[in-house]
Amino acid sequence: MNVAAEARARPASPASGARSRSPADARARLERTAAPGRGHFALAAGCRVAGTAADVAFWLITAGLFAGVAAHTLTPAALGHAGAVLGVVVLGRGLAGYGARRGADAGAEAVSAALARQVLRVTLRPAGWGDAEPAALAHAVLELADQIGDYHRTTRPARLACPAAAGVLAVVAVLHWPAALLLAATTPLIPLNLHLAGHATRAVADRQLREVRALSARLADRFRGLRTLVMLGAAPREAAAVSAAAAGLNRASAAVLRRAFISSAVLDIAVTFAIALTALYTGLMLLGYLPATRLPRLTLSTALQVLVLAPVYFAPLRALGAGYHEREAALAALDTLDTHPAPPHPPSPRPSPSPSPGPPTAQLDAPAVELDTLTVRYPGAQRPVLQAVTVRLAPGRVAAVCAPSGAGKTTLLATIAGLITPSAGTVTLGCAPASRPPSPTVVSWLGQTTLLLAGSLADNIRLGNPTASGHAVHDAARRAGLADLLACLPDGLGTRIGAGGWGVSAGQAQRVALARALLRDAPLWLLDEPTAHLDAAGEAELCRALARAWRGRTVLIATHSPAVTALADEIWTLAGGQLLVEKRR
């Protein structure tokens, strides 16, 4: 919800405008997301149909009993017999209800699991993180996917089970065809009324919902910054603003709710009207006020059966309207999932073979990095991040990339790693005997943060090269400056770290990442502010280890730090998409 509001609160960003779709389009997309749960939903729908059949049987038999009582033909034995049959029907009905619920639950799970996987597939691509905050990814995977699953849980089985209404109609037709005709004739009232009610308010609805989201984000903002407000002494003054924001939010929510109530009241009226008409008709028929010569005769038993089947007939149709609230939430969720930053150009499968776990092509000599009129533009962005950058880094040299935050350092490195396909221009890794396109397989990457997998320290280091020997792992750990940590770990390299294991500091985690890179032994090193979260001592230590590790490799390092810059042979300064090179050595 919050993320959506944030996305919407940036009217200046052309990205949101470019991505906005027509409401009909969005709805169609929402429906398509149900595919993974299809089987479960079909099962649920089947159970619903069975439930409707049980309802029909229950009421047919019960109405028959009344007719028997009225005609004084009902014997106690027949009553007992009917009771036993009805008991079985009731149990069957319960079973069908259970099946319908389980099916719908399983379907919803399948949908949200598939959506979560899809989001992960997009965002866990090398450059998939785009400009999204990691927290937004977690929100998308954990909450938004569920909201869409919830929507399908309510609507899918209901929609699939809709034909059950036709079955009920057929039963009514067999009992007394004019009544079936009457029900059929009043049926279009439901969608017609709903359509009219919906049409009159839809235009307002989107605006109102947007307002609700924006206001609620605004309100959350005041709470989030409460500490600042208190420190500045502004909290009492802001209380009025908070109340105003909450009241505004309430007004907008009330408008949205009113719309929902009107459409459900309209549905109520249509159904009640249809049933009342049926009751009136059967009453008049029984009283003989209607021309009975033209119409088939109606007995009390049939009349009762027709009357009780009328609500059963409308029940599946009414269930269709139930997912109203969920749909709005689901559309909002899908919208947020869609605006989830797409990478500018995911690496096309053609030039870079998908990296497979294993050691990089270590035999490769340090490559030259050649950028030729390289341009990278994020979709919807006004200016390219990199504009026609042409530069060459000779093999074995170290370049420090300096730029203010957000100037495209990470984009540049990711493009050289082959994680982003440029919008124009080329990246070439010049190495003997032939040049080759960029590929993550020849790269060691060190970022600001690293992920420690739940597992032993050795497992984590071995991520750099799954086939490395224990000795090599130990050596890499030592060279990365992990000796101190190793000394205090209970099981040395075998100690479990990460979630549920030994706690490791940020600096130590960076050294684990360095150990990985050392073990990987790739010819090209790309480092994205590896010392950002380290103190001076940690930085100095990491720099020493890096300088040793770099020998004979081509290195690009994005950094703010003078200590790191001092290690570089040349300084690349990035500003406004342009690159300035200053050779030091």
Binding site: A138, T228, V230
Partner: protein
């Protein structure tokens, strides 16, 4: 949804200490009655009326039809058919009105809850506030308030309907088929019991929450480390681990779902069996067929009214948990943390005394090894390895972390005793609020003129900006994403300057700024607050970003192991250096 989002992270921290905290549900309900009594009364009455109309409609329709089939001599068709229509209209109107009234009550309640939440929370001690404002807790608080307010339409209204329907039916049965009345009562009781089975135990909720938190953690770190993992070709492996983690979460939820489905279906079977039993009993009692139809149809309608009970009960439990969490968050603490009268706001600087303070975090105590007496008006730059306690010292000086040993005095008294605006900390996670930049600055001083705001923004280097890009009237959306990180830091700095604090604390103020911008922004402090005491925590590798020449400020290295010794000279009062304070 809301239930599944919560984690028990905060509830254990703030212990309820007042009456409203011990009985959070009653406290919240009192607020409901105080703010929305008329709406609530109307909603309840309409819900009962709607249930009554439903029963009457069904019963009358059944009676009417049988009467039509075997009309007595003087049967008048019109009154009952008119009655059916009247009841049908009543049912629709009452249903609509009931929803409107109950949601109106819920919204009024929500408004009051949020207002109370804000005012309670703003009375929290700063340490508790820090925990409160952290991360996505706020979003959950927002959702909690909504869940609690949802109690009215989701629990109260269906319960009232079911009760009204049940009472009416028991009366009807007691008159017509006395033997069926206890059967109905038993059926209704069993339905409620089955519904109770769907309630999830708190432990179960906590387990789901823990699984969710673990998955969230892994997701966040993975997203941050994506390029490294891509180059290691480990994304698939991590992806599989995430899917595993999500699978665990789903398995836990599936168990809860299965239980709910079983209970719901069980309730359905119980209701149908009740109807069946009452039908058989009624028919065996041999009333007239029309009366039998009236009874059976009315009972069917009454049992239908019990259908939403399991969901209502489930929501009630969620609402109770939400109420407890809200109460735990906002239990008003003693506002001054010790019952002292607040000090008067005073101009100029404050002297600071720090002597090996033991600063308490929720889980541990940090003792930065620091011993100094800082005269008023000094600029002190703290540096030292990360983890040495720079941020700890700043937060303790701001009164955001309690101390339990050593000495930490600002102007001769503990930090918490200072009135708002006297000691101001600009922290990493400071929020730029939605609204204009001017609005943000006026939070610190509502009397600021437009011109003065422009001057403050210029002082920190945000102005002059290219026309149309940034200005006092620039609108900032929630999350302030139109501003870069460096711009946000400078807005927060300008806001702090506008408050004219006597002690200004800055944690890594130059992060995200280049050297020129940092010089400019920090220089503004000495120009605008020449008499204030200023303490900055700055990474030692950022020391070139300080505008003050050596000797014009005091530098200290914080180290938890060894006692730092201040530079040989005494802390230098800054009066003389303010003009040449920045190059």
């Amino acid at each position: 949804m809301t239930l599944s989002m919560m984690t028990p992270s905060i509830t254990s921290k703030a212990r309820p200490s007042t009456g409203s905290g011990r009985r959070p549900v009653w406290g919240s309900l009192r607020l409901l009655f105080a703010t929305a009594a008329p709406q609530l009364a109307a909603g309840t009455a309409l819900a009962a009326l709607g249930a009554g109309a439903s029963i009457g409609l069904m019963g009358l329709a059944g009676w009417f039809l049988v009467m039509c089939a075997m009309p007595p001599a003087a049967f008048n068709f019109y009154p009952p058919s008119g009655g059916v229509r009247a009841l049908a209209l009543t049912r629709i109107a009452a249903g609509y009105g009931q929803r409107r009234a109950n949601h109106a009550a819920a919204l009024r309640w929500l408004l009051a809850l949020r207002a109370r939440l804000f005012s309670d929370a703003s009375r929290l001690r700063l340490p508790e506030l820090r925990a409160f404002a952290a991360g996505d807790l706020v979003d959950r608080v927002m959702a909690d308030a909504e869940t609690l307010a949802g109690f009215v339409p989701a629990t109260l209204a269906p319960t009232v309907s079911a009760l009204a329907a049940g009472a009416a039916t028991v009366l009807l049965l007691a008159v017509v088929v006395p033997s069926a009345a206890p059967v109905f009562a038993l059926g209704a009781a069993l339905t409620v019991a089955a519904a109770a089975l769907t309630a999830r135990s708190p432990q179960r909720v906590a387990k789901v929450a823990a699984a969710r938190a673990a998955a969230r953690d892994l997701l966040v770190t993975t997203a941050a480390a994506a390029p490294e993992l891509a180059c290691l070709a480990a994304l698939d492996q991590v992806g599989a681990q995430i899917i595993d983690r999500l699978g665990e979460l789903r398995a836990r939820r599936r168990r809860a779902d299965r239980r709910a489905a079983l209970a719901h279906s069980g309730a359905e079977v119980i209701r149908a069996a009740t109807l069946l039993a009452i039908t058989l009993l009624t028919l065996s009692a041999k009333p007239t067929p029309a009366v039998a139809a009236l009874v059976v149809f009315a009972v069917a309608a009454a049992l239908d009214a019990c259908d939403p009970l399991p969901a209502a009960l489930r929501h009630a439990i969620q609402a109770v948990i939400a109420a407890r969490r809200l109460a735990a968050l906002t239990t008003p603490a003693d506002p001054l943390g010790g019952g002292c009268t607040p000090l008067r706001l005073r101009a100029g600087g404050l002297d600071v005394r720090i002597h090996h303070p033991a600063v308490r975090y929720p889980t541990r105590t940090v003792t930065p090894d620091l011993d100094l007496a800082l005269p008023a008006g000094t600029v002190l730059v703290l540096s030292g390895p990360s983890g040495s306690g720079k941020t700890t010292i700043l937060r303790a000086l701001a009164g955001e972390l309690p101390t339990e040993g050593g000495q930490l005095l600002v102007g001769g008294v503990p930090p918490a005793h200072h009135p708002a605006g006297q000691v101001v900390l600009v922290d990493h996670d400071d929020v730029v609020f939605a609204g204009t930049l001017a609005d943000n600055l006026r939070l610190a001083d509502p009397t600021l003129t437009h011109q003065r705001i422009g001057a403050l923004l210029a002082a920190v280097g945000l102005l002059p900006a290219p026309p149309g890009e940034l200005g006092p009237d620039t609108l900032i959306g929630p999350g302030a994403r139109v501003l870069s990180g460096g711009e946000q830091r400078r807005v927060c700095l300008a806001r702090a300057l506008a408050a004219r604090p006597a002690l200004l604390l800055l944690d890594e103020p130059t992060e995200g700024l280049d050297t020129t911008a940092a010089h400019h922004a920090l220089g503004a402090i000495t120009r605008l607050l020449p008499e204030a005491t200023v303490i900055l925590a700055v990474h030692d590798r950022h020391h070139d970003q300080l505008p003050w020449p050596t000797g014009h400020h005091l530098s200290l290295t914080v180290d938890q192991r060894s006692t730092p010794t201040p530079a040989a000279d005494h802390p230098m009062p800054r009066g003389a250096t303010t003009n040449g304070g920045h190059p």
